[in-house]
Point group: none
Chain length 148, copies 2
DNA sequence: TAAAATCTGAAAATCGTTTTCATCTTACAC
DNA sequence: GTGTAAGATGAAAACGATTTTCAGATTTTA
């Protein structure tokens, strides 16, 4: 609490490194678990969950859900980017994160605050949807899990 | 499949009626289960899940997730009502969920699609922030589940 | 080096959701 | 009405993601 960021452990390093090296894909706890086990440096799932939770709390990692059956997804967020000044668009299909720099959104933020008395937090708010590349003209009519 | 919509049963009627009478709230399987049990017409959760699944398949009901810990939410959808989809504001402090019916957001949605080529999914997108009640007064600071 | 703070992971506990399966109901022909 | 096949039901077990427990291991700090 008092400025501490926790002890430096092999597990913590492994997880953090994995996150920084996989910024553009849907990372789940299993993804990480399987990878580390395969690398010969297994880490218990409980530990992975615990570290990710802390990383999310401190804003280093973002937590989101694409498919309820798959479980939570996590994504590393770069600190050097002024992410607090813009919003994000997250493609539900490819997992890509788009940094949206748009004055329109800022206006909406102000509108919501002025008219609805709600102070939006840009850091945690993510717009989910489908990006241009993943937008398929011909609807494949799959048996996909609904999510909205 | 061949035009059949299943047998007409008490359980099916109860569930459908509940959905049509609660179009504006977050309905979960437990919500329905508790209500029907209290009404003296209990329906097993497995049955509720089964019926909701069918209703979702046929487009009568929409399935979405607001909070992973709470589980799936369901909402009755009327054909003429689809354009009235609304967004949600989630207070990070007290956990309250606010239904935001605001044309400004709709405009933003259209703007993002037209100018940024991204099709926002309104039901999966949640604005996180702080509500009016939790704003200035002593922060209630709870241990809420993260979801952004 | 010792004590205190923190971390780890196997196993158990939770919790939402799905499946199993033996038993009812409904729809429909006779 | 009676018989029956397709479909529905629900208690309990199974499942899968996530959390908690707890005894033992590790990192810090003094």
């Amino acid at each position: 609490m008092s400025g501490t960021n926790g002890y430096k452990t092999r597990q913590r390093e492994s997880i953090l490194r994995y996150m920084t090296e996989h910024k553009d894909s849907h990372v789940t706890v299993n993804t990480i678990s399987d990878y580390l086990a395969q690398q010969g440096t297994p880490v218990g799932t409980a530990t992975i969950y615990r570290h990710l939770e802390k990383l999310v709390e401190q804003g280093t990692v973002r937590k989101y859900t694409v498919d309820a059956a798959t479980g939570a997804c996590f994504q590393f967020v770069e600190a050097d980017r002024k992410c607090h000044e813009h919003y994000h668009l997250k493609c539900e299909k490819c997992g890509k994160l788009i940094h949206l720099k748009c004055s329109f959104v800022k206006e909406l933020e102000e509108h919501i605050y002025a008219e609805h008395g709600f102070a939006v937090n840009p850091l945690r708010t993510v717009f989910y949807g489908v990006c241009q590349e993943c937008a398929v003209p011909a609807a494949p009519a799959q048996k996909e899990e609904q999510n909205g």
